[in-house]
């Protein structure tokens, strides 16, 4: 025998052998099993060759990019995608909103169509991401002028931004995040659209469910706190519940009537999440996948990880924690109030409710203007 076609080296480079090792199927399995029965002495060689093929595949595949590199590549590719679009990207959402002007909540229903949100989201995200601050503000102002009642908040800073909604709920928008919503008392639902990451603390109201739309995913709550991470670069949307219960469902495959019915129901349906549970929603497939609970990592800065448990805590410390969690400025008379002790558990409550609880305890009042909260009171006796 001059040369053995089933020696180690020969097996490792044998196409059929590689195919069997990498993607075994019935046919190849039968073939190699028969071979081994006929050549029992080759068992060790085959096992060894198999291991080498796997090792070679594994080792030659070692140089995959890190998530950071992937993100970087995609962001550059995506920024070039809209370079050659002849119309200005921002025209798109404006026209969409225009068609539904004056019909109150309908803009949200239109926007709920996944495809539209996807295009608005990615177009406007990149538009804003790419441009400097100046044109951003212009466009934002223009938007608001064009569409009465529709408010768009975009966080172009590198710090979290707290948005206070009319119903008293608060949303902490992370840098790069974008939130649009309509104000108005007569709405039957509270609806916002999110691109990017935000932490929500929602005022309880069973009659008016609160809905967050992000790329075909609707998150419905009656009153609770949770984080949604719907970055335009990511293929997935993550929802993590802090307190209470929320339900999430895909609205990609629902027609308008079904959507209306599901959105209006006071009860929660779809996939229900309780506190500390997380899911990921694939933008592409529309599937909702449960994720293992996050490992609690208490970060002073991250509002969604805060427990807001105060036990004989001096008010000055309480305000410091609120200031850093919501990135707001709280102005108060430090001498009179600073040392007053506070006992309260404020997890899951919107910022305004927290302030109310604190002010009740201090027998004080609060005022909100822009990013500044002023506490007026005489202090504790």
């Amino acid at each position: 025998m001059k040369h053995d076609p089933y020696s180690l080296t020969e097996l490792i480079r044998n196409e059929e052998f590689i195919a069997w090792v990498m993607h075994p199927d019935e046919l190849s399995d039968r073939k190699w099993r028969t071979f081994l029965e006929e050549h029992p002495r080759k068992r060790k060689t085959v096992e060894s060759a198999r291991e080498y093929v796997i090792l070679l595949a594994k080792d030659t595949g070692r140089h995959q990019p890190t998530q950071k590199q992937s993100d970087r590549m995609w962001s550059i590719v995506e920024s070039h995608m809209h370079d050659d679009v002849p119309k200005t990207p921002e025209q798109e959402p404006v026209t969409i909103f225009k068609t539904s002007r004056g019909q109150g909540w309908r803009w949200a229903r239109v926007a709920a169509s996944a495809a539209l949100i996807l295009s608005i989201g990615s177009v406007s995200y990149w538009f804003y991401y790419k441009k400097a601050d100046a044109p951003l503000r212009e466009v934002a102002v223009q938007d608001e002028a064009e569409i009465p009642n529709t408010i768009q908040k975009y966080n172009d800073t590198d710090k979290p931004m707290t948005v206070l909604l009319q119903d008293g709920s608060s949303v902490v928008l992370q840098p790069g995040g974008r939130l649009s919503y309509s104000e108005g008392v007569n709405r039957k639902r509270r609806e916002v659209t999110l691109t990017g990451k935000a932490f929500f603390e929602i005022v309880k109201n069973k009659q008016k469910p609160f809905l967050v739309y992000s790329y075909g995913l609707a998150t419905k709550v009656l009153g609770t706190s949770f984080t949604i991470d719907a970055s335009s670069e990511s293929k997935e949307i993550k929802v993590e519940v802090r307190t209470g219960t929320v339900s999430v469902f895909s609205i990609n495959n629902l027609d308008n009537n079904q959507k209306e019915a599901v959105l209006d129901k006071p009860e929660l349906e779809g996939v229900t999440l309780n506190h500390d549970q997380r899911i990921a929603f694939s933008k592409e497939s529309g599937k909702i996948i449960p994720l293992p609970a996050a490992v609690a990592e208490p970060e002073d800065k991250d509002v969604s990880k805060q427990h807001f448990v105060f036990d004989e805590t001096p008010v000055s410390e309480v305000f410091r924690i609120l200031e850093s969690a919501y990135n707001v400025r709280i102005v108060y008379d430090r001498e009179k109030m600073g040392t007053c002790p506070l006992n309260a558990t404020l997890i899951g409550q919107p910022l305004k409710e927290k302030l109310e609880v604190i002010c009740n305890a201090l027998d004080a009042q609060y005022e909100v203007a822009d990013n500044q909260i002023t506490i007026l009171g005489k202090g504790c006796k």
Binding site: K2, H3, D4, S7, L8, T9, I12, R13, E15, I18, A19, M22, H23, P24, D25, E26, L27, S28, K44, T45, S48, E51, Y52, V53, L55, L56, A57, K58, D59, T60, G61, R62, H63, Q64, P65, Q69, S70, R72, M73, W74, I76, V77, H80, M81, D84, L118, S119, S122, K235, E284
Partner: protein
Amino acid sequence: MIRIATSTGENKDHDLWQRIRLGDEQAFTAIFEKYHRTLYNYGSKLSTNSSLVEDAVQDVFIDIWRLRHNLTENVTSVKFYLYRALRRRIHVALDKFPSMEEISELDDEDMPANHTHSEAILIEMESSSARAQRIQELLAQLPERQVEALTLRYFDDFSIEEIAEIMSVNEKSVRNFIYKALTSLRQSREILLISSLIFWMLLFF
């Protein structure tokens, strides 16, 4: 079963390709997501400069989107197209053009005939972890083109024919790259065995 599985995979690519030609952003995103990591991995075998590789991968995709209306309708394999495009990009960036020199061809018949015995000993001696380490060391020492061929064959699962076209060489050269790489694997094992024998002999005398 495997045939069906890969062909549906290719059908899906083909479908995405048609959608990209019509300007479908989601299809484009899907192709990027599916292939950018393995492309980067392959690019890393051609250049150790990671930012050059990143740029080349980006440019391949940027070009596809930019020229989407002019893309060939019947691309046989999207994956193959992407790899070949990436290789060209990196070679242009490295100012490296296909060299004229022919790769010395090693005939299949020239293979050393009598190695089965030494292999048999080694197989019994080696542990899995030793094998894993051996492969790592080997890949670090091999010439670039051999590593490239191994990557395309074992990790990216291209056929010899496809690898030949990606690397712009003939099929025989591809077989040679792989054969030489695997032979070095065997040689390095023999060297190790001999050196450990010497080591033990020195210990005893």
